[in-house]
Point group: C2
Chain length 337, copies 2
DNA sequence: ACTGAAAATGTAACGGATTACATTTTACAA
DNA sequence: TTGTAAAATGTAATCCGTTACATTTTCAGT
């Protein structure tokens, strides 16, 4: 690969002139500029951006910490980040953490070792275990999607509590009074927020909270399937099932259908996220739509602002959500089965 | 951030000693080593890896060109790459190309500008348009999943033709003679290979090929839905539908069910990829399973070998596939509807 | 205590691009 | 033609860690 020096030699100028031809062409006379340009073409010279980055101290790379990209909601968010990053001249370094704090720390180290400018966290598994207390405070990081109450970082999130509340209210409005909830992993703040929304809605409707209606899940299809199976073995089975994400809901529907139940006639099922598959589920899934790509855009935009020192206080951006009613929810059956 | 020189000053040694303490501790006396280590801790010194990479000329980053990560098969492949890359000390730079050759070229440029060591392409959209002819031949690149016959790059792929053939044979063995095929994008070599396998199986069974049975798709849920709708308007409708990926199949099933058809009683549907959702579709989808994570592992492993000069000839690794029979396929109906 | 080899440590060049500052060239006015 | 400011170009320092080579220290053997 040609270097700036070779180009300079061929053009018969100094390296400074070559650099200026590229950076501020108006500062170079047209004649020289032509010679340099020709030399650049001749050699196929491309500036070694490692050198540029090294010298400038800016890598223009952002680390994205994500538990797994085999999750369609995250995939959409990352697509959004990708777009926004590309627009701003940044690349994305993908850090699949599998929820493993050690791997997380490994990726955070990329920033500490000047290999990346900042970090975006998609799931706040345990953000503080992953970094030295001292470095933590200064780390250029934003939290997206899942947010610990305590973080001092800019965040972009949903009002998960309100969203879960409105879904629960919707189910209540259909006449359901026993509403099962399939949770996400308990370690996730998001799970707690959605649970709180669910409880709030029940409380407002004066329906006592029954924790026999709570089922553990981990946002996977399988866990939804398992949770629904478990639910079916219980006496006084719920007439509606609110799942904290769509994968879980789709897994649950499968288990319910296998058991011979009709959706929504016998049981209503609702999800959260509105992934593409939800519209093609059988029946199409009622869910909460989130602007996933926008999450990505906003997160990148916030982080870049932090990097450019445009942000003093850590803002908290709340993205809008929308209740998408499809066919998986319906009026509560008049007689309990 | 502390530099090696600051550490050296604090420890009262030269920068070389600090470097050696980190790289080859046995070459430094225990006493000095202790002083240096303490200075490192004191300052929280971490080597600036941009400097290291710049000097070594190795970035230990790999670019992954992927049309979209919102595709579960790709997501699994990328997860696999991630693992393999991490094991070998590499990071992944995600390049979402949206099938856009310009964006593709943009990412390939990362290698040409020494920001990445190599490229893995997941969809051979048009690999040669994206790079200068001269640079192309030397580019450290591997092709995964989709492969142009002509490439001179190491590849890891499936025998798509054989896989499609065996799926078609399986459908034939169920008594289907009119088998529809929902294709992927025509630009994709993979589409052609699978089509060829389909044709081959028909030919072996002495069934004339009818291109009214071919439907265009683009690997999305929506395109499967649309293709199936279109199919339904045709006279002499097929009794089986082979879709070139699972998303398409799931979309198609939705359209068929909406039209009142029962699967597999009225129409059999088969997919390709075996994404997680396929097992939870209604009915669970018959498909071809691919070792997605292994694709990722192998691709990274090949690329790293190329980078280390361990590979002379471009190998072509064929991964195994498996016919997964579930409930979406069954015997051909005796009377056509 | 002295020699010599081995061990420990230091010095400085290097990688490629940028840029402050220095120098040369150009162009125009007097 | 000369002087001068502006424009063009060049020189060399800089970013930070690595490492070949140079120098100093240590220590066993005598």
């Amino acid at each position: 690969m040609a270097t700036i020096r070779q180009v300079a030699d061929i053009a018969g100028v100094s390296v400074a002139t070559v650099s200026r031809t590229l950076q501020q062409p108006e500062r170079v006379s047209p004649k020289t500029r032509a010679r340099v340009t020709s030399a650049i073409e001749q050699t196929g010279y491309k500036p070694n951006l490692m050198a540029v980055k090294f010298r400038s101290g800016k890598t223009h790379s952002l680390v994205v910490l994500v538990p797994t990209i085999a999750n369609l909601f995250f995939a959409r968010v990352i697509n959004g980040m990708q777009e926004a990053a590309a627009e701003r001249g940044y690349s994305l370094l993908l850090g699949n953490t599998q929820g493993n704090p050690e791997l997380e720390a490994e990726y955070v180290k990329l920033v500490q070792t000047s290999q990346a400018d900042g970090v975006i966290q998609l799931r706040a598994h345990n953000p503080f275990a992953s970094m030295n207390a001292d470095a933590g405070a200064l780390l250029p990081m934003v939290n997206a999607c899942e947010v610990l109450e305590s973080t001092a970082f800019p965040t972009v999130t949903l009002d998960n509590q309100r969203a879960a509340k409105s879904m629960t209210e919707y189910l209540l409005s259909l006449g359901h009074t026993r509403i099962g909830l399939i949770k996400g992993p308990n370690s996730s703040p998001l799970t707690q927020e959605r649970l709180r929304g669910y409880q709030q809605a029940l409380a407002s409707a004066n329906i006592p909270f029954d924790d026999a209606l709570l089922f553990d899940g981990d946002f996977t299809l399988q866990s939804g399937f398992d949770a629904a199976k478990k639910m079916l073995t219980q006496p006084d089975r719920p007439t509606a099932l609110f799942c904290e994400n769509d994968e879980t809901a789709i897994g649950a529907m499968q288990a319910l259908k296998q058991a011979g139940l009709r959706i929504p006639d016998d049981v209503s099922v609702a999800g959260f996220d509105d992934i593409a598959f939800s519209g093609y589920a059988d029946p199409p899934l009622t869910t909460i739509a989130q602007p996933a790509e926008e999450f990505g855009h906003t997160a990148v935009s916030l982080l870049v602002d932090v990097l450019n020192g445009k942000i003093k206080k850590a803002p908290r951006v709340i993205m809008p959500h929308e209740l998408v009613v499809r066919d998986s929810t319906g009026p509560a059956p008049t007689t309990c089965i």
